[in-house]
Amino acid sequence: MKKNEPRTLEVDYLTRVEGEASLTVRLEGDRATDVRLAIFEPPRFFEALLRGRSYLEAPDITSRICGICPVAYLTSACLAMEDALGVTVEGPLRALRRLLYCGEWIESHGLHVFLLHAPDFLGYPDALSMAKQHGEWVQRGLRIKKAGNSLVALMGGRAIHPINVRVGGFYRAPTRAELESLLPELRWGHDATGESLEWMARFPFPELERDYEFVSLRHPDEYPIAGGRVVSSEGLDIDVRDWDAHFVEEQVPYTNALHARRVGRGAYLCGPLARFNLNFDRLHPSVREAARRAGLSVPCRNPFRALLVRLVEMLQAFTEAIRLIEAYEAPTVPHVDTPSRAATGYGASEAPRGLLYHRYTLDADGTIQDARIVPPTSQNQRSIEDDLRVLAPQLASRAHAEATRLAEQAIRNHDPCISCATHFLTLKVERT
């Protein structure tokens, strides 16, 4: 076909949790005249479901929103409830919460990097095809992911929908011996992740520089997981309680998911690339060095390099998990008391895909009167669409199959929680 003929790239894929999502990119010459990422997301339903339920039920109910990120929902819900109740979880309990979250980062990023994203860079249609040529790397990735699963299973009580987490801490704290039993595999996972980062750093990365506004949590001492202030690369620096004054969600006609934007600015990006750019100085020194060796520096504005940033975050998670276990002293009680009161609470944590914000209003009995959940995927939708607009000249210059593969890869850069089945792209050419 001729390069200047208008054509439409159409992406359609099915997901388990979020329903269907589709992408339409209409190209006219080198310009994208229409880009639509349409996502169906269930959190609206959960917000309605939460009303009238006990504050103690919120973590468990919301953790069922996502089979990949239950810990993120558990943690954001607990933080918001504890904020409402005036309770602070500190010391060993806070360390345990962070350790659990490290497990989720490892398993979620591991799944994405090795099974979903790496095949794109190597030119394979799916993980199965990649495994035929690079079986040892896929095996390695699966074992890395399993190390994260083991951490979540031990800390959360089970691998699917962890049940050991509650407002105020845990139902049962693990023993030191239980945690130490994980150390050999975590140490192996750390080293294997470092080797994977060195290998994937040699992948061919498409050229794309984006002027994102990055948004993430920032903590005085730690790489952000839970706790800290909400900051951005454009100077935002607010308490989580002030989120609603600075971010809004809007309905757009072609998608069931709300679009988030910065008040007075517009699209922004949360997730690994945002965390990395805003918190590079909070990474462990050895992890910073590994990132530099992989060719990463700040600012990193190429979304395709998010593949490497996820590996950097996995390396950070392994490093932290090992440190936390080595320093672990079992808490005297598994949770702090959380007597109910009428209040509104705000909580945010860094899910693998980005900042996950929860807000709850409780009555005096601790019954939820109002709930709001803002997941990272809805926050990133506009930026994903903008990526494809900027990528339009590259899409326009490619043949159907190649253009659709690149569009698919660009979507996967952000690991939206609507990850795509293989061969989900079809290309329709409109001739005028």
Partner: protein, 164 residues
């Protein structure tokens, strides 16, 4: 390594009919499933990769997008793609691909007998609590097919499975 027959329910709780695989596992538990059966849950297909490593038969239970809703299908993993059927998948690794990947990476370790008991569901328009009536009605029939699928593998290997 466990030689108990392994039944793995796939699905997302609180995601309407997609959770039918989990409901079948719950039903088997409520029936007092034989001790020779190991009942497990998997949030998404990539979790299957390690769970399929067993010498015992494995039965996967999942929602399948097909009409009419509420039908129970017993399939080999390869049949999903051959028949154009789709299980719902969170993260891009479908059930049939997870099985193929497990067999590729661990040819001697993966169960020699893997079957899928699928319950047909309609494409979800919105998520809801619980199952729709037609899919809920299929749960006991699906549980029955699970038990048949395990015992048909090698009836002598599972003496605890009473004939049904």
């Amino acid at each position: 390594m466990s030689t108990r027959g392994r039944v793995i329910g796939l699905g997302q709780a609180a995601a309407g009919d997609d959770q039918v695989g989990l409901a079948v596992i719950e039903h088997l538990r409520s029936l007092g499933a034989p001790e020779c059966l190991e009942l497990l849950l998997a949030p998404e297909p990539s979790a299957l990769l390690s769970l399929l490593e067993t010498p015992a038969p494995v039965v996967l239970v999942d929602a399948v997008l097909a009409t009419p809703a509420g039908e129970v299908l017993v399939l080999e993993p390869d049949e999903l793609e051959q028949r154009g059927l789709s299980t719902m998948s969170t993260h891009g690794v479908g059930v049939s691909q997870a099985v193929a990947l497990a067999r590729l990476l661990s040819p001697s370790g993966v169960s020699p007998s893997i079957r899928i008991v699928g319950v047909s569901i309609s494409r979800p328009e919105r998520f809801q609590r619980g199952l729709s009536p037609e899919v809920a009605a299929a749960v006991p029939r699906a549980a029955e097919q699970v038990l048949r699928a395990v015992s048909s593998h090698d009836p002598g290997a599972f003496p605890c499975m009473s004939p049904r």
